[in-house]
């Protein structure tokens, strides 16, 4: 088959310390691979993720941003991810309204036991963003080389 897309996207993944970061660790210790272009930032809770961080990532050249947190109802901080859910629902819908492809943003709930899910989600997300190609709509062109 012919290689049609050589593009490898840059993905920023925000993971909450208690569930999703541990889920990523489990993916690691279970040797469940996902592409190397996913880089994780550890936050105490998904509710720590400010929309500004998401936009900054896009501005600096990220092609996709994903947030992972505990499943609703299981938040280590009781209610944190409920707020995340509303905030990111509205933000991502809004970015879509601004013309940013909705496949570039995502929220997933990954528990500490869901290493396999973490790996699956990342593989799927990377595939979707790769298909979209480079993020040109939301970036500061100065950070690019060339």
């Amino acid at each position: 088959m012919q290689e049609v897309n050589n593009f490898t996207p840059n993905i920023v993944a925000f993971c909450c310390n208690w569930c999703s970061y541990a889920g990523a660790d489990l993916a690691g210790s279970s040797r469940l691979s996902y592409p190397a272009n996913v880089k994780i930032i550890r936050v105490p809770c998904s509710c720590r993720v400010n929309p500004m961080f998401v936009l900054k990532a896009f501005q600096q050249g990220a092609d996709g941003v994903i947030l992972c947190g505990c499943h609703p109802g299981d938040c280590h901080y009781v209610t944190g991810n409920y707020y995340t859910r509303r905030r990111m629902s509205l933000l991502f819908s809004f970015l879509n309204y601004m013309g940013i492809e909705k496949e570039r943003t995502r929220v997933e709930w990954v528990s500490a036991a869901e290493g396999a899910k973490f790996s699956e989600v990342m593989n799927d997300f990377v595939a979707k963003v790769t298909a979209l190609g480079e993020n040109k709509r939301l970036q500061d062109l100065r950070v690019k080389e060339e």
Partner: protein, 663 residues
């Protein structure tokens, strides 16, 4: 000028086989601020830690980055090592090169590149780290138990046993709670009062326990280790210190038509009364709604007859304020209101009763002195039909979606006791499922069916109606696939239980979270089942979820263990990664407090200098670091960015984002 040291761990071959650790350590040396970089086989080993410590001392490092396994594994180890040589433990960052790199990638070039990015990201963060200090807060060595049922009694006894003073606040005039109303208990059929009342007496006699009956929580301030609680002592119009419990007042009181709550309103009582014979404290209370003296000013008979001079009609509610280190919530339950369930005819037929009412009808100290008589005509019921799941497992909106958990067992108990005492009685039970997990529980239920021949019918009841004095119970028999009607003399509804309604107010006062059914939330459903998410608040009994007596008692003891563990400490260490508000930028808009699950944010009016000798008073947010758990929900709610989180500041996360995206 910052001096950053970077330590790349091989983790044997775990990292080194996939990541070119030597190249990473070399290339990282060129990063601005990095003055030292090394790789080593096992950084977590004694020697590895020594290497880190030596470098910190020799190069005067101000921050270090370890490229190793997940920080969830060894962050604490490296922090401790740093601290031992004088570097603040919060100046340590870990780049996860094992779980996030070597274990999931195969291509060495790709893995090494990613490792470099992750280490640079950690460096970017550590550049902005600030030394943090764990706070300390003192612990008041006294516990508060809210609710004096079996859960509260058990928790208080265990805490007192360990030597700590404990107060029980009970809203009723006596402790004992629901268990005191029960007749026998499953699966052993021992008498409830016989096992409960000695414990009540123990409470009264234990000098570490102070029972504040007829009292309610009015206000709660403070936080774990340091709660300040205002308690309202409701006016009982009887001086507790003088009343001897002789009951002469009860024999003389002319107002005798009050409904006896203890007997589920199946009996009347006098305005001045002691709730039941074994009440603790054994002190009378006057019902102000019923007392002629208090209502009309005319009477005063009880005062005339009281030899102890204990009656005081002028008594007012009084308040006391006490300090506690820990709080146990044990507010218990009540059967749900059945007004919405017309189909069972509860409101219209005296002989349709709830299970708790049946407990009283069977109790030797109850309205019928233990002889089972039906309320309408005081005759022996010959056919008794029990209906299970009344309001439980009900998603129609009328009842509760959950299983009340205790009904299957107590119905088996009732059926068995009736068949034992009155073998000529016919007993039917309509059920959806019979749920009997628990030690000796299924055996118990089987005895009811096999030994006592209780007629269990799988199916739901559609209607109960009165026909010529007979209660016609119309239901479906699913196993025989037919509709049946059972003419009965008494119908008993296994009524769903719900948390005592006052728990809502208490949850608000404690900022303890509560679910849609008004059950208090535990901190973790499996691993922290007796702790509320609010630090220092513990949950015992049905206030947390439906449970029977053995479970309630175990949970109460578990709470006590947690409380004792807390009170045994002189000081509590607090997590330094907490939120704080920059007062110069805070609008005081109160948005952040709305999302704080812990009630850690309060607002104060503060005076600010404006220059030119002028001042301005502004409302600003203030975070209590002993209460804040550091989730960061508030930081995103704050539009001005005044609220930030130590250890995970906006600037730090932004710099991590930049480092990752840098091409």
């Amino acid at each position: 000028m910052q001096k950053i040291g970077v330590f790349i761990c091989w983790c044997g071959s775990n990292i080194a086989a996939t990541v070119d650790v030597v190249r990473v350590a070399e290339e990282i040396k060129r990063e601005p601020g990095v003055v030292y970089s090394a790789d080593y086989q096992y950084m977590c080993s004694e020697n590895g830690q020594q290497l880190i410590k030596n470098a910190i001392k020799e190069y005067g490092l101000t921050g270090i980055v370890i490229g190793s396994c997940s920080p969830r594994m060894h962050e604490a180890t490296f922090r401790k090592a740093a601290e031992s040589v004088g570097l603040n433990p919060y100046m340590v960052e870990v780049a996860n090169l094992r779980e996030q790199v070597s274990w999931i990638h195969k291509d060495k070039e790709e893995a090494t590149e990613k490792a470099l990015i992750l280490v640079r990201t950690a460096i970017a963060k550590v550049r902005l780290n600030a030394p943090l200090k764990e706070g300390e807060s003192p612990v008041v060595k006294r516990a508060l138990v809210i609710g004096g049922g079996i859960a509260g009694i058990q928790a208080a006894l265990d805490i007192a046993e360990a030597g700590y003073p404990v107060d029980i606040v009970e809203k009723n005039a006596t402790i004992g709670g629901r268990m005191a109303q029960l007749d026998k208990t499953f699966p052993t059929l021992d008498c409830s009062a016989c096992i409960l009342t000695p414990k009540m007496v123990d409470c009264a006699q234990n000098e570490k326990i102070d029972i504040l009956s007829y009292s309610e929580i009015e206000e709660v301030k403070g936080y774990v280790g340091n709660f300040s609680v205002k308690i309202r002592k409701k006016a009982r119009y009887v001086d507790e210190t003088k009343c001897t419990g002789c009951k002469i007042c009860m024999t003389k009181c002319p107002s005798k038509k009050g409904l006896d709550e203890f007997n589920m309103n199946l009996k009347t009582r006098t305005a001045i009364h002691i709730p039941f014979a074994q009440a603790i404290p054994n002190v009378a209370v006057i019902d102000p709604e019923q007392c002629l003296k208090l209502k009309t000013g005319k009477c005063g008979i009880c005062q005339k007859f009281c030899g102890a001079g204990a009656i005081d009609y002028t008594m007012k509610d009084s308040f006391i304020e006490r300090q506690y280190g820990a709080i146990v919530v044990a507010t218990g339950f009540k059967p749900i209101d059945l007004t919405a369930f017309n189909e069972y005819g509860y409101a219209d037929n005296k002989d349709v009763v709830t299970s708790l009412e049946l407990e009283r009808l069977m109790n030797a100290a109850g309205p019928t002195n233990g002889v089972l008589l039906r309320p309408s005509d005081m005759t022996h019921p010959k056919v008794i039909t029990f209906i299970q799941c009344v309001g439980s497992r009900d998603v129609s909106g009328c009842g509760k979606p959950y299983c009340s958990k205790i009904c299957c067992m107590y119905t088996a108990k009732h059926a068995m006791l009736i068949r034992e005492k009155y073998p000529d009685t016919e007993v039917h039970v309509f059920y959806i499922d019979v749920r009997t997990p628990g030690k000796n529980y299924d055996e118990f239920y089987r005895r009811a069916v096999e030994q006592y021949n209780v007629d269990y019918i799988k199916g739901m009841v559609g209607k109960v109606y009165n026909e010529n004095g007979k209660l016609m119970v119309q239901g479906s028999d699913l196993l025989n696939n037919e509709q049946i009607v059972i003419p009965s003399d008494l119908v008993v509804l296994a009524t769903a239980i719900e948390p005592e309604p006052s728990v809502r107010k208490i949850a608000t006062l404690l900022t303890a979270s509560i679910d849609t059914n008004n059950f208090l939330n535990e901190s973790h459903p499996k691993l922290r089942p007796v702790e509320s998410p609010t630090a220092g608040v513990y949950l015992a009994g049905v206030c947390q979820g439906p449970k029977d007596i053995p479970e309630t008692v175990s949970q109460a003891s578990a709470c006590a263990a947690k409380v004792i563990g807390l009170l045994a400490k002189d000081k509590l260490k607090t997590n330094p990664c907490v939120a704080s508000s920059n007062e110069m930028m805070c609008n005081g808009c109160s948005q952040c407090a709305n999302v704080c699950a812990y009630g850690a944010i309060t607002y104060v009016d503060k005076e600010f200098r404006l220059g030119g000798g002028k001042t301005e008073i502004r409302r600003v947010a203030s975070v209590n670091p002993a209460v804040c758990q550091g989730c960061g929900a508030c930081t995103v709610t704050c539009p001005s960015g005044a609220m930030d989180l130590s250890g995970f500041s906006s600037k730090q996360i932004m710099s991590e984002v930049e480092a990752i995206c840098k091409k």
